[in-house]
Symmetry: C2
Subunit: 338 residues, 2 copies
């Protein structure tokens, strides 16, 4: 606190001097080594607060080869991702959980090749202990590069084709889709269509499979349209669906955001929801309750997904053992749209 203290930040040497012990003892005290006498520990503690010492992570990383940093890689065009409330939630929870463990989160975008090269360079430089993958598509070249780097990586949602390699936490998309489709059937809907997410994402693929599980042969190609998880994508897909099958009476939409778009298209085309057409969403994100009518949807426990992903990553980083992937149950949330 002394006003006269120079610009220079205090180092471990300063702490050693002030506390009257050696550098090594200070280091041990700070890192919780059991072989430190109570007296020394107290002296160090006092000296630390007195000097305002904070460990220099660069120096530490240099020798430990660890840096208390993980990278969150967004391998999706940014515009799309940031529009998605699921992403916000994932980001929010992950930041917080990591902060608690004193791990810094650096965000990197891997939209185009240049971006990806930057990410790889950053990781290759050893500046991060691990990677958090978000919404990675099947066949993303980044995944292969990551494997080459042999850096701990964990994904939110499976990376299709790499399920055995990159551990993940995810909601049970397939079962969730079954729940919703089954519900629509039980409501007496006869002609049920679906708007899927991209088929190179687990959410796109698995939810479609769940849909087909229930509908069997009734799930004809005509009633299946693919969207891209955006609101406008949902609008377009719904329009397509209406032109293909004007008499449909229910649609299972692969995400709430797309469902909101679908809702808008239905309104424009004079269809009442749920009287004429029932809409089922997926996610139970914030948009679900703010549409008109509010969406009947499938809740996926994204907070838990984020928490588990972080836990797994940290585990992978310090432990040797590869953590088990984990699939979490979904829950049908009934509101007014179906």
């Amino acid at each position: 606190m002394s006003v006269t203290s120079a610009r220079r930040r205090p180092t471990i040497h300063d702490v050693a001097r002030v506390s009257g012990v050696s550098r090594g003892t200070v280091s041990r005290a700070l890192n919780g080594d059991p072989y430190v006498s109570p007296a020394a520990l107290a002296a160090v503690r006092r000296a630390v607060t007195e000097t305002g010492y904070v460990v220099n992570r660069n120096a530490r990383s240099l020798v430990t080869q660890r840096n208390g940093t993980v990278v969150m890689v967004l391998s999706e065009p940014q515009e799309k991702l940031f529009e998605d409330p699921n992403f916000s939630l994932l980001l929010r929870v992950a930041t917080r959980r990591l902060a608690v463990k004193d791990v810094a989160l650096v965000m990197m975008v891997a939209g185009d090749d240049g971006d990806r090269e930057r990410v790889v360079r950053y990781l290759r430089g050893g500046h991060a202990d691990g990677v958090l993958l978000l919404s990675t598509h099947a066949g993303d070249p980044l995944v292969e590069e990551l494997e080459g780097l042999a850096i701990p990586a964990v994904a939110c949602g499976a990376v299709l084709g790499r399920e055995g390699i990159i551990p993940y936490a995810a909601a049970d998309d397939r079962e969730g889709a079954r729940q919703m489709t089954q519900y629509l059937v039980e409501q007496g809907r006869k002609k049920i269509a679906t708007i899927t997410g991209p088929l190179d994402t687990p959410g796109g693929l698995n939810r479609l499979e769940g849909f087909c599980d229930v509908l069997g042969r009734k799930a004809t190609k005509k009633l299946i349209v693919h969207g891209d998880y955006t609101r406008s994508g949902g609008e377009a897909a719904m329009a397509e669906l209406l032109s293909r099958a004007p008499d449909l009476d229910a649609v299972f939409v692969g995400s709430d955001l797309m469902a909101a778009g679908a809702l808008a298209t239905l309104r424009v085309n004079g269809r009442r929801v749920p009287e004429d057409v029932a809409i089922g969403g997926f996610d139970d994100s914030a948009v679900a309750s703010s549409t008109h009518p509010p969406l009947t949807t499938v809740r996926q426990p994204l907070e838990r997904v984020a928490e588990e992903t972080v836990r797994m990553l940290l585990e992978l980083v310090d432990g040797a053992t590869r953590p088990e992937s984990i699939v979490l149950a979904t829950e049908l949330v009934i509101r007014d749209s179906a």
Copy 2:
């Protein structure tokens, strides 16, 4: 690429050995020092690609006292912030701009005291070259701590009370509010109310001032209600306004998200928009065009704000001179709600 290469990452020594020059020359070559012979430069370049060398930032930072990292501090309850499309946009643009300059962006939340302490500790440890402040409220204790640390800091939107100290880039909130209010008056609206943002944020305060600039004595307390930039906050504020002044015929809402909420409340209460009540928003964010009816709003050039903020921060980090704050013009965007 050799399969036999050990786990160890190549260092500058490896590059020196392979290229046949000294450590120092490699360093110079890599850092663009002019005193490097063409031959040496070429040899180093070749060796770098051959070995796959990437500089170790920790070692570099240790000696240069710089680390190519800036922290984005979110000093707002996360839930609120992540709901806000403005925030997403700012984050997106900033990440990208920094990435281009090879500066890593670490996100830190400073919601409660514990969070704040972590942020300060991180910064005090010298792990970041600068700080990007987002939506900082007047009187936020973090700001003072930042000043104590003497770390380069720049804000998106002014930090009220610190305008002279922390440079910022922002939209011209006051003028934007004037444009909108003036427009509502010109449309023949007689009883115009407003829903503001929090008054300890520049957007809250300045937009209210712009509103009052135009309306003068007509801007009575009864017609002014404060929101919190969330959708639900907008709903509540609108309800309050309706109970205070059931005959109002226009509302200038301080953000699009709140406007969307206000719209919902109006619908519930049987008011038609814009026939019975005109609604003016602020931001021109994505929600503005997806409400029903789409919002007439004030566009603030947030991409530019983010770009300029990043530019200023980087300038502040390497230059000595304190960059000028910058205020950007807004633009009225007329859609259907007014």
